[in-house]
Symmetry: C2
Subunit: 555 residues, 2 copies
Amino acid sequence: MLSDIEITQRSKLKHIREIAQDLGIPERYLLPYGHYKAKVDVNYMKDLKERPDGKLILVTATTPTPAGEGKTTTTVGLTQALVKLGKKAMLCLREPSLGPCFGVKGGAAGGGYSQVLPMEEINLHFTGDIHAVETAHNLLAALLDNHLHQGNPLKIDPREITWRRAMDMNERALRNVVIGLGGRANGVPRESGFDITVASEVMAILCLSNDLADLKERLSKVVVGYDENGNMITAGNLKAHGAMAALLKEAINPNLVQTIEHVPAFVHGGPFANIAHGTNSIIATKMALKLRDYAVVEAGFASDLGAEKFFDIVCRFAGLSPSAVVLVTTVRALKHHGGVKKEDLSKENLEALSRGLENLKAHLDILSNFGIPVVVALNKFNSDTDGEIEMVMKATEERGARIALSEVWEKGGEGGIDLARKVLEATKEEKSYKPLYELDLPLTEKIRTIATKVYGAEDVEYSSQALKTIKNLEEKGFGGLPVCMAKTQLSISDDPQKLGRPKGYKLTVREVRLSAGAGFVVAICGNIMTMPGLPKKPAAEFIDIDEEGNITGLF
Amino acid sequence: MLSDIEITQRSKLKHIREIAQDLGIPERYLLPYGHYKAKVDVNYMKDLKERPDGKLILVTATTPTPAGEGKTTTTVGLTQALVKLGKKAMLCLREPSLGPCFGVKGGAAGGGYSQVLPMEEINLHFTGDIHAVETAHNLLAALLDNHLHQGNPLKIDPREITWRRAMDMNERALRNVVIGLGGRANGVPRESGFDITVASEVMAILCLSNDLADLKERLSKVVVGYDENGNMITAGNLKAHGAMAALLKEAINPNLVQTIEHVPAFVHGGPFANIAHGTNSIIATKMALKLRDYAVVEAGFASDLGAEKFFDIVCRFAGLSPSAVVLVTTVRALKHHGGVKKEDLSKENLEALSRGLENLKAHLDILSNFGIPVVVALNKFNSDTDGEIEMVMKATEERGARIALSEVWEKGGEGGIDLARKVLEATKEEKSYKPLYELDLPLTEKIRTIATKVYGAEDVEYSSQALKTIKNLEEKGFGGLPVCMAKTQLSISDDPQKLGRPKGYKLTVREVRLSAGAGFVVAICGNIMTMPGLPKKPAAEFIDIDEEGNITGLF
């Protein structure tokens, strides 16, 4: 069997101009980056204004496991299948971070015969968006520390600075640092640290902005810390937002690439799915809806995190209304939730599968909150037995949801025809999306609603610090923002050990943070890693390039 | 009078495909980045192998002053003038760093009617090369700290790590930091710091490599520190060079843009001119020589630094042999060297000018070491009087060098016709380049040769640490490398206060460093700033972008 990178290196790509022509994008709006990737000028949206929107299909998944569910692969494969059925469709994905690429995970562009290409370039730098976000983030940090150094006229309290620095790298050693050492010529000493760039609020802002003016406005609102009297200090106070927005001038334009079957794809923006909302840019999604009759988008992690945030934050900010949701699952993942060890996942185990199905049912219940028809995509692995597949099919249909077997990794679009047909059926239902909670509820009420209706918790507990922050935020006028929950992706609860469908527990909110520019309040349950580390044998050691420029070891 | 950014925003650019077509670059080798910039695949060089080389013209300057000499502007203007005379010519420049852009200096792409365009994009991210260099640099740092964290099998001494991190930002507060804090899950605590990306050895390597294989080989040799027994630890030992080279896959391709008069320009690579060699990539220069009959390249700072390194390091590594040198000077700069204060530079002062001419004469003498004909370009300012201009002309001609008045800022190529004619004359002389010193001399002899023949010093003094390092490097087999001097650019000596033509002093070498990947030994005289700081009123505060994407405040 060929590896992903071997499959991609043997694929013949179309010139990106051809892909853009098929979409009807005028050449003046197409900004090619080499032969196989391009940016589409965001100003094109003004020309498209009067065009009707296509239908939006959201792809989410059951709770992630070490076995992998193939959510991106399904997103690509489903879109390829829609095109095989004669539909005008395209997809939207997030941009991969370099950090995991050099760590353990490898690239993030789908797999097998359902990938977006050119895989190596998408994984390494791509069109530079993440670098631009990082530079804008770090410019704000530099201006802030320079302000302290140059006499600190705003009287910023160096102990109350919340803005850290960003680097698109797995960098354990930069999580906690002391900066400004070496005497008075070298800044003001203080504690700080680095987060991986995709965890930056600037990335969330890029992805939640409707246009350049909105982007700049949001950047100006970013809170970097507090002054000696406890007043918030913003990027606007530091006059940083203009230069930050200028740095993002190119990054705001969606990136156009193609799948292995030449289906157009926007790969644009990559916010974290815990500390932020975890979906590609609103601008890319909106443009895709103008260009095609169907736009398929993927949300990070499982439905408790990615889909909930998509519905309650992204759809609300962007005025989007999805027509169907695809819930990706695998027999292996469900067996894992039924208690099977990794080494035994390839053996048939109907009893464990039956237990694990509770996880699937929980996600179906979560999605039922939002009023949109759901199609389960059962992503087939070679080790799945007929009995196991049948059990998942039956259980899903008993809950009134559609289900289709998906073989898009091995067969490309052809392997997703049944799934695509069922998704098309679902989009014909006359249902409309509703958010889970109203914005005018108090912050604690919004959190309680998510905790009970989505996470299945009985109640919510808060640290005294979290309650104090909530009080402060409501007093300062931020009570009306939506809540972005930050919790483990490995369980529907806040405890990564709780598999299946956790019940009868209390969710603990330990910390609350404001992302005033992104426009949400982050409620943190448990430890949230905003800077990953490298493993003992980093993937970087196996990456190589030959003298012709062929890259190996990236998977 | 229009500002540089206003002039550029009113200019009508040709599509970069047209510029490439004029150069005869086949479309398969042209990798466009938007409509007005492109990379040219380095593999194109294989096709060009048999083609004869054009003539190489090096642009350098007298000692820099706060008044500015217009070296980049002259490089652009001269090339435009050559084209006006019917010659096939192009130019090569360095890529500007973002740091100074947000600090005081503004952009770096020439000025007036002798600029390379699109100026905003060249100054902000451009094609991402500097970000790629930074990422490769920081990946090596991450792998190194991860090695310490994961048990340190190579027994690297954390106190003897020389590899720092890089950020393309003026970041005083990151000069000296302590990393790895926060307990055992977060790395090994140690002192470190950040340099601005253009000071990274990775940038020097990118610019000194002849191809991708050479690049990877050089990366593997980078020394990051020492083990407990004093043995060198390299990037190769950490298995970092393959992934680092993969990260530079696109960055190695030269960037093609155009001047305001549609003359082709490579803007590629931007190493510091003190800690490194300060000229654009060898690959860009070699490609330019294959594509045109004349290639004009600029070296950083004045002839004592930029030109000397160009002749002794770049020409040697690349097998280049320049046909003429242009020495840019201004009446104002020379008056500064004659002791005139900044506020009085606009008043005629023949006496001070006469004293300041010693600086010009010193640079003519420096250049005479290398055996190439010199043309002085007197870059005209409005405040220059006829008497002053005549004095400079006469003094230059008395020394046997050609001189021409240049008005390229105001008039573009038309203002450089006389200069271009004299440069063409010079290139017809049958002279050939010779380096200043032979590589097989001991390191101290090489340093003494540069100090006495170029800097006019009587002798060289060393700190005991510097002598110890030299001994160690010669024992380890690095004695045969060329020397890259790091000293102030504000004087021909190592003391920034010494204007004009310093004599009768001893040069002090305080520290010696190895850049084993770049392939030179750095001799440091005085404090060399490898991470600048922001001023009290950073330029970033004045940079803005409107909702159409038009950038203001970048100059």
